[in-house]
């Protein structure tokens, strides 16, 4: 993948609107009691997932975190099986055993969302090791939040990736929040400085500018594929909603959440309009996303409840597979 096969702005818009529509629908389904557990939405952060994943190929691998819907969809996860999973159905990606925090798809190299803050980093490092040893030409990517930078395993992962020059792209989605606390009070370091201290080249972009994210991701992915070792990309972005759905956000000024001029979708739409893209083409993205989401939700609602015995059988590989 080089700049030559970069995604078009309209492609990026389609990915972002798909994520947005899917998540807004999830919010509704959650409020209506159709989604169990708890869900973390990436509304406002879609530019990061879309911009970065568009620079990856399907053989590249991706580890994600608790806020992973966007990463998963941008990596190409099937929309119906995504909804089926999050609604806890047998036909879901994970047969209803994981839910929102564990969406994964081996077919597109999606190594899974993850409920443990920071846990995706060494997984991506290990995946990159596999790419290196197997000379597959693929790279690994991991998305994590600014809050995850406080976890020790981040440090260990950066170091290991650096000394082994592993093909891994570390993407920090800096939305300023670690759950209910501002990261500014939690982290002494500047994110890029952390990476740089490990001799990992680091760049920071406006994460709400999907074109900037994509362009930078293409450059870094190229450098990694050429054997340059790991790269770090900070994407400064905005968590528009609560930490999870239902979070009353008492700890936060409403203003912070409402900087709609930052919205990556609105920004790209305005940019496309200015560039002369016809309004129907732009509007089609959202319309098409809604249509797909409608269909997926319909399908998901008709999904079946997972069978307990099937789950029990999958704790280990079937014994025929064992020696």
């Amino acid at each position: 993948m080089t700049a030559a096969n970069s995604s078009s702005p309209l492609d990026l818009l389609r990915t972002m609107t798909l994520i947005r529509e899917a998540e807004l629908r999830l919010a509704q389904l959650f409020a209506d009691g159709e989604v169990p557990g708890f869900i973390h939405l990436s509304v406002g952060q879609e530019g990061v997932a879309a911009g970065v994943c568009a620079a990856l190929s399907s053989t590249d691998t991706l580890a994600s975190n608790h806020r992973g819907h966007g990463h998963a969809l941008a990596k190409g996860l099937d929309l119906e099986r995504f909804f089926l999973e999050i609604m806890g159905k047998a036909e879901g990606m994970c047969q209803g055993r994981g839910g929102s925090m564990h969406v994964a798809d081996a077919a597109v190299g999606m190594l899974g969302a993850n409920g443990i803050v920071g846990a995706g980093l060494p997984i991506a490092v290990g995946s990159a090791l596999a790419h290196q040893v197997r000379k597959s030409g693929a790279i690994a990517t991991v998305f994590f939040g600014d809050g995850a930078l406080a976890e020790g395993v981040m440090h260990e992962s950066f170091n290991l990736a650096s000394i082994w020059r592993l093909p891994v792209l570390f993407v920090c989605e800096n939305n300023g929040w670690s759950e209910f606390s501002p990261t500014s009070k939690q982290l002494a370091a500047d994110p890029c400085a952390l990476a740089l201290s490990h001799r990992i080249a680091a760049r920071s972009v406006d994460g709400n500018d999907v074109l900037a994210v994509h362009e930078m991701a293409l450059v870094l992915v190229d450098e990694i594929r050429e054997g340059g070792g790991p790269r770090f990309l900070e994407c400064r972005t905005t968590r528009v909603r609560g930490h999870f759905e239902g979070d009353p956000q008492k700890y936060r000024e409403a203003a912070d959440a409402a900087r709609s001029e930052d919205d990556p979708i609105g920004r790209l739409e305005r940019r496309l309009t200015a560039d002369g893209v016809p309004a129907p083409d732009i509007e089609a993205a959202t319309r098409e996303a809604k249509r797909r989401v409608d269909a997926a939700v319909r399908r998901a609602r008709s999904g079946t409840a997972p069978a307990f015995d099937a789950a029990l059988r999958d704790v280990y590989a079937p014994s025929e597979a064992a020696p």
């Binding site: 806890g88 443990i116 976890e151 759950e179 209910f180 939690q186």
Partner: protein, 324 residues
């Protein structure tokens, strides 16, 4: 006597202890300004100030490690690991440092620290946010482990844990936080290591703890309809646990069922069963039956988790099996 929620009882215990001893500090993720992920530490920052009540970064290893150093240097730290699943990141500090410091330094240091660990499922939080891992901690010499099941015990055991000179793990079942119950006046006190006979009975003994106390009592009600009188023992403390109370009950009923939410295999119940199969062997008139979670990660989907979690019906089945 007032009606409060389980979580509020813990909050009250924390506040009462902090008011009485200025060496008590609290830190953890989102415990100060946000008041804790489950609201258990609400109001403490305002009341006791930013020096003593602190939000930490997402650094579970350093949180418990710092508690060890603080306890060795004159403070009585109370820390929270947001979900027990994340204590996987704190095990060195807990097991190699906190648990061993008194012993391995020849008794020079006391480590009065408390680690609060919310455990358990029932909220479809999935495989990494629902585990009951207390059996790991009960296996570690130097740690104490308590797990309250009632509002009154939530208060009393929290106070006892804070007052204890050794590191104490407080295991709090998430599904209990919102449950209401009576907080007696004068405020209750309970010694760590003492069980509670939640219901007396003569036909069989159910040993349990935490959220399963409620299930065990429900099971006992169901059994009573058939004339089977079950004694329910709530352990309250898992390390040390009240062996003599269990033995005494077994000597009355001669039948034993052990129920917990944790995975049955290699769980806390295994130790209770093993001890009773030794020191209580002569009292046993039937097999020792355990009721725990099956050997699988906690599944997400409603139907799966409902089947996964032990309930009153399965306890009833267990009692019937040992009586058969």
């Amino acid at each position: 006597m007032s009606e409060v929620r389980f979580g509020q009882a813990i909050n009250r215990a924390l506040a009462d202890a902090m008011a009485a001893d200025e060496n008590i500090v609290i830190f953890g993720e989102d415990v100060a300004a946000p008041g804790g992920p489950f609201g258990v530490t609400r109001g403490l920052l305002d009341r006791f100030g930013a020096e003593r009540v602190r939000d930490t970064p997402i650094s579970e290893a350093a949180i418990v490690g710092a508690a060890v150093g603080a306890a060795m240097s004159g403070l009585k730290p109370i820390v929270e690991i947001m979900f027990m699943d994340f204590v996987t990141l704190s095990m060195d500090a807990l097991v190699n440092q906190a648990a061993k410091a008194r012993f391995m330094f020849g008794g020079q240091y006391a480590l009065p620290m408390v680690v609060r660990l919310p455990h358990g499922g029932g909220i479809n939080a999935g495989p990494q946010h629902s585990q009951c891992l207390e059996a790991w901690l009960t296996h570690v010499p130097g740690l104490k482990v308590a797990c309250p099941a009632t509002v009154s015990d939530a208060y009393a055991l929290t106070r006892a844990a804070i007052a204890d000179p050794d590191p104490v793990i407080l295991v709090e079942n998430k599904s209990l936080y919102a449950v209401k119950g009576a907080l007696p006046e004068p405020l209750p006190s309970v010694a760590i290591g003492t069980a509670d006979i939640a219901r007396p009975g003569r036909d069989a003994t159910i040993v349990t703890y935490g959220a399963m106390r409620g299930m065990a009592l429900a099971a006992a009600d169901m059994l009573a309809k058939d004339g089977v009188e079950t004694e329910v023992i709530d352990l309250r403390s898992l390390q040390p646990w009240d062996e003599s109370a269990v033995l005494a009950s077994l000597a009355r009923t001669h039948r034993l069922v052990i129920a917990h939410e944790a995975v049955e295999a290699f769980g806390v119940g295994a130790e209770i069963a093993a001890r009773m199969a030794d020191v209580g062997f002569d009292e046993l008139d039937g097999p020792i039956v355990r009721v725990g979670a099956p050997f699988m990660p906690v599944p997400f989907a409603k139907e799966l988790e409902a089947r996964y979690r032990p309930d009153a019906a399965r306890i009833v089945e267990g009692v019937r099996r040992t009586l058969a």
